[in-house]
Symmetry: C2
Subunit: 238 residues, 2 copies
C-alpha cells in the first residue's frame, strides 16, 4: 500500500511537523510505503500560469482547463506537476497536513490543488464523485488551529469544522472520487502546552491507526443528479 | 469613497477581466475612486515565509501570527504587503474578482489573504466580527464558474454557493469585521455564448449599482459568544 503525505507548513519545528512524523512512522508500522511532499521545502510554485505548460492549446485565451487537457495528452505538463500527479495516481491513501489559515489551506497547498489536480487526469465533466478518476483512493485531512475548540461547532462563533472543510472534502477530494475520511483536528495548539500537544499527538496516532476502519464522510452521487445535469454536460465550451 | 478591487485571473482577455472593467467603470460613475490590484500582473507572491518580514521575533520557531504582530509594530512588513494593507485600510468597499477554482479562490488570492490580512492590523484575538478592525468597510465577491447553475444549490450535486463561499464570507471578510454583501456569481461562463455573457455583465452592473442598498449577509457576533470564549481569550501563547 502506498501513502502520499502532502505537508504544508513553513516551520520545520512546528507541531504540524510533529504530526507529519506521526503519520510517516505510524503508516510505516502499518506496512505502508510512505512518500512525503514537503511543499515549503520543495519551494513548490503555487500560482498556475502559462509556465505550467510546455505545450500551448490557445495562445490568445488562457483557459486553464483546456490547457491542462491539451498538456496531459501531449506530455506537456511541467515536471513538478507531473511528478506530484504521478505520486498521487500511485497512492492508495493521501494525508494532507496543514494549519488552518483563514478557514482554509495555506496558499501553497491551494496551489498544489490548482496545479496538480489536472482536468482529464483526476476528473472530467462527466467523471466526478463516484465516477471521479481518483475513485478507490482514500484521503484524510490532518489540521491544526490557533483557535480553541469552543470556537468551532454548529452554534459556535466560527461555525462547524465540517462546514468549514466542506469545500475541500466535497469540492476537491470527493469531487475527484476519493473516499474522504473524517479529519483529525488539533485545536488551539499554540496554547495547550507540551503536555496538551503530547496528548494530541497520541490521539492523532490512534485516529490514524484506525484509517482502514473509519467510516467515510457522505458524498453526493453523480447518478442522483444525472437528469438535471445530462443536457448541460453535453454543452461544448467555445 | 474609496474602492479597492482585488483581481485574480491569469488571462487579460478573460470574462473576469470584463467583469472587473464593469466594476471600475460602474463604481467610477457612482463617484468612487477605484484602485485595482491585478495580482497576476503584479506577480504577487502567494507564499507566506520569512522573506515577508524585515524583522524577526523568533529565529527558532516561525509562528506567522507572532511574526506579523512584531513586524507590524516595527514597520517590518515587506513592501508588497504593506502597500496592499495600506490600500485595504483606506478602502470603503472591496470587490474581489476571481474564478471559482476547486470551490475556492485561486492560490494567488489565497496568498493575498494569508499575507495581507496581518494579525493586529485587521483582526486580533478579541477583535473579530463586530469588533474586527475592518468594521465599517463593505466587501463583495464577484465570482465565475465553469459549472452550470443547476449544479449548485441546497440539493444540487455541488451544494449551495453560499455554503461553498462561507469560509471566505464568514471566515475571512466577516471575521475581520467587514459588512459582507451578497456575491455576484456568473455561472457556466465558458458555455453561455457571447449573448449569455453580455447578459451576465448587464446583470452584474445592476448588482453593483445596488451596492449601497444590498442587505448584507448575516454574521455571528462576538458579544453572543463572550461567555464561552472569554476564559480562552485570556490564554497566552507559549
Amino acid at each position: 500500500m502506498q501513502a502520499l503525505v502532502i505537508y504544508a507548513h513553513p516551520d520545520p519545528s512546528s507541531f504540524n511537523a510533529a504530526m507529519r512524523d506521526v503519520t510517516t512512522s505510524t503508516l510505516g508500522e502499518m506496512g505502508y510505503s510512505v512518500q512525503v511532499s514537503d511543499l515549503y521545502a520543495m519551494g513548490f510554485k503555487p500560482t498556475i500560469d502559462r509556465d505550467d505548460f510546455a505545450t500551448t492549446f490557445d495562445a490568445r485565451h488562457f483557459n486553464v482547463t483546456r490547457e491542462q487537457r491539451h498538456a496531459l495528452e501531449h506530455r506537456g505538463l511541467r515536471d513538478d506537476i507531473q511528478r506530484e500527479l504521478d505520486a498521487l495516481l500511485a497512492a492508495d491513501l493521501v494525508v494532507f497536513h496543514f494549519p488552518l489559515w483563514w478557514f482554509s489551506v495555506p496558499a501553497i497547498l491551494k496551489g498544489w490543488f490548482d496545479r496538480v489536480l489536472v482536468s482529464g487526469a483526476v476528473y472530467g465533466r462527466q467523471y466526478v464523485f463516484e465516477r471521479g478518476k481518483l475513485a478507490g483512493k482514500r484521503a484524510m485531512l490532518a489540521v491544526t488551529t490557533g483557535g480553541p475548540e469552543a470556537a468551532f461547532g454548529p452554534t459556535a462563533i466560527n461555525g462547524d469544522m465540517l462546514d468549514i472543510l466542506m469545500p475541500i472534502h466535497r469540492g476537491i477530494l470527493g469531487f475527484c472520487g476519493m473516499t474522504v475520511l473524517p479529519p483529525f483536528v488539533g485545536y488551539f495548539v499554540p496554547y495547550v502546552g507540551d503536555g496538551g500537544r503530547e496528548k494530541l499527538l497520541a490521539a492523532y496516532a490512534s485516529h490514524l491507526r484506525a484509517v482502514e476502519q473509519l467510516a467515510p464522510l457522505p458524498m453526493p452521487r453523480l447518478a442522483d443528479h444525472a437528469e438535471t445535469l445530462a443536457p448541460l454536460l453535453r454543452t461544448k465550451a467555445e
